[in-house]
Amino acid sequence: MAHPLPAGFWRVFRRELRRIQARPNLAFMLGPFPLFLMLLLSAVFSAGLPRNLSVAVVDNDGTSLSRQAIRMVDATPDVTVTLQLANLAEGKQAIIRGDVYAVILFPENMERDLLSARQPEVVTFYNNQLLTIGGIVSRATRQALSTFSAGVSVRVLTSNGLTQEAALEAIRPIPLQQSPLFNPALDYTQFLLAALMPTVLLIFISAGAALNVARDLQQHNGARNLVRLGGSALPALAGKLTPYLLAFLLTLIFGDAILFGYFDAPFQGSMLLHVAYSLLFIASSLCLGAFIATVAGDTVAALGMTGVMTGPAFGFAGISFPRIMMNNFAWAWGGFLPLIPYLQLRVDQVLRGTPIETSLPTLGWLALQMLVYGGLALLLLKRKASRPEPSKEAAT
């Protein structure tokens, strides 16, 4: 009974399972906790694109015409007119306080100027500090006011003697068919969520591996014992990390289930490839964590370094600010993070339906990360194992 299994992969694997069992605290943080955070993020974005964002109006005209314009702004789904203010100073204050995201100023004598063809100016002041929201609000008000303006044009033209059809034709713009090919409803929420869940998971996976490998290493002769139980470094590390690979694979499947099941996200590409890069992503992230642990040596430092490395990963992924606009350093740094090739492959296969050949180099990039991080971790582990530590009273 003392050694039910010979030294090797399974011995370390079994030992790791027992260790996880022995610490329910940790088991919770590796299993249910990431699931909970994924559900939380899904709930945050469940309402879809922001609607009914508050805007204020300063109506210095106060005619039926300006009121009509205000009604048209209010009628757009994106914004709602929640405040009527007396002047612009109040409007600015309302933006600073966060009561509204924009203020629309209708000038004095707008109706009169409009009818006498003097092109009155309507100004929208929007909060650009909140870039995404400011963009939605300014776009929505501009569209509503353009529609209003076109209506006025038609009215003036027909009153000048043109027929309704001729008037409509005269003001018709060049129509633009927008086809966000790969994200049909321009459902930015779905896309964002599909990128955020792996980002959170990257941090979990790397931190999980870093913590657990470092826990071995910080014990007296820990690296030596680990390698001895595994027979050699490779089966030892593989046995150690495989339980986490399986656990996080379940988490990733759970995330995909939310996206494809609940949010009904379309899937365009190759399922086989999807499974392959999902597994590689977890493996690369685990190897990254293991590598960090072998460099850091103790748990707290390993977790801290993982945080520094993976915490800002989302910014480098190019989902928010595009990678092609980054400086060389940021572009290269992103190349070291498993998240970046993974998300690129995800966009390729899930959204675009990219031909498999086109995606293969990216798959190779992800595999290379795994080999490099895994290789470095093995090398450092071997080095540590080959040097017996002088006995100390206790591990720190």
Partner: protein
């Protein structure tokens, strides 16, 4: 008073002597300060490579494409024959958008018929897609307006009247704050509020998880010392970083402190409460490391608070950063006064009181009175 200062010095000395705490509360913040803003240095999207398919090959279609190419945000890197070629370039990520001009574009345009132009792109990369569509839209509008003007003048109207008929009102959009629309200016100041909160919580966990409170005056001096240290970081991240990275700053230093001090008190209190809730320090650190991203997305900056389900928005406010990120942004980047952010200051103070009570009660339960200070720390290190 002198005792108190000495106790504070002592607390800082212990912090700097602890490798983990030093790494977290000093070194990692400096690394973040260098690393985090890097992806956003470009600030705005420029010259996005797109590819055109010109099925018309007319003067009008070339003029239309020229206008798109001349925009700041988009560059037409190639005009190709047929959609398959364009698509291949798109899949290869040589191009990030495709614009297709239909065969009878000029003909339809001159006859006043619909001449729809198609634009294809990745709707999910919203900055690229938005820039691309805006460039195409502007080109279509300016070209369309000229053609309409020609039509109206040839129908006998004078130029000015034609002009006002095409756009009877002048529309102007003015960006208040962040006039450049810089992405870094939007994300970086907000993110550093969260980074400071997380590192402070981690540092407290590393120093104090599972430990009894410091004896005597040190019990108060230690958090005060942390607050002073982090006030330095507030100045570095909220003042120096914007200056270095060219992020607009129009705040007032005293207003900044009026928000920062209650925020740091609340975070300290939360940190000490956490050390009693999760007594194993690596567990607390792990717990904190994985939370950064979700906390950022429920702070109402990346995603409007109104669009987040009310129960999440409500629950999120028990974390100091949720309301603090917004308040820092308003003070630093929008010039808000104390009056404007008073509700956040009040909330931070309420959180501080709440968390101190929790920390106090949990501490006394964990370390019953009379033996607290010389009790052997039971589980700071798991075997």
């Amino acid at each position: 008073m002198k005792m108190f200062v000495l106790a504070m010095m002592d607390a800082l000395k212990r912090l700097f002597a602890n490798k983990g705490a030093r790494m977290t509360m000093v070194v990692s913040i400096l690394i973040y300060a260098c690393l985090y803003p890097q992806p956003y240095r470009g600030e705005v999207v420029r010259d996005v490579p797109i590819v055109a398919v010109d099925q018309d090959g007319s003067t009008a279609s070339r003029e239309f494409l020229r206008r798109i190419h001349n925009s700041d945000s988009v560059d037409i890197i190639a005009t190709v024959d047929g959609l398959p070629v364009a698509e291949a370039m798109f899949f290869d990520r040589q191009a990030y958008g495709v614009v297709i001009v239909p065969p009878s574009f000029e003909h339809d345009l001159l006859k006043g018929q619909n001449a729809p132009v198609a634009v294809y792109g990745d709707g999910g990369y919203f900055l690229i897609y938005g820039a691309f569509v805006a460039a195409a839209n502007n080109a279509a509008q300016s070209l369309g307006a000229e053609i309409r003007q020609q039509r109206l003048t040839s129908a006998g109207l004078d130029t000015d009247t034609a002009q006002t008929l095409i756009s009877p009102i002048n529309q102007t959009s003015v960006a208040l704050f962040n006039p450049q629309g810089g992405f870094g200016s939007y994300v970086v100041p907000a993110a550093f509020v969260l980074i400071l909160q997380q590192t402070l919580l981690m540092g407290i966990a590393i120093m104090h998880a599972g430990q009894p409170a410091r004896p005597g005056i040190q019990r108060v001096a230690t958090p005060v010392a942390y607050i002073l240290l982090y006030l330095v970081w507030i100045v570095v991240t909220q003042l120096a970083l914007p200056a270095i990275y060219g992020i607009p700053w129009i705040g007032n230093l005293w207003t900044l402190f009026a928000v920062a001090v209650p925020f740091l008190i609340a975070v300290n209190a939360m940190g000490f409460a956490l050390t009693h809730l999760i007594r194993n320090r690596e567990s607390v650190v792990f717990f904190l490391v994985v939370q950064g991203m979700p906390l950022f997305f429920i702070a109402g900056v990346a995603w409007p608070m109104e669009s987040i389900p009310w129960w999440i928005a409500w629950a999120a406010h028990i974390v100091p950063s949720t309301s603090a990120i917004d308040a820092f942004l308003r003070v630093d980047q929008m010039g808000a006064s104390v009056q404007d952010v008073l509700s956040t200051i009040r909330l931070q103070l309420a959180l501080a009181v709440g968390y101190w009570c929790i920390a106090y009660v949990l501490h006394d339960r964990q370390f019953p009175k009379g033996q607290g200070n010389h009790l052997k720390p039971a589980d700071t290190q798991a075997p």
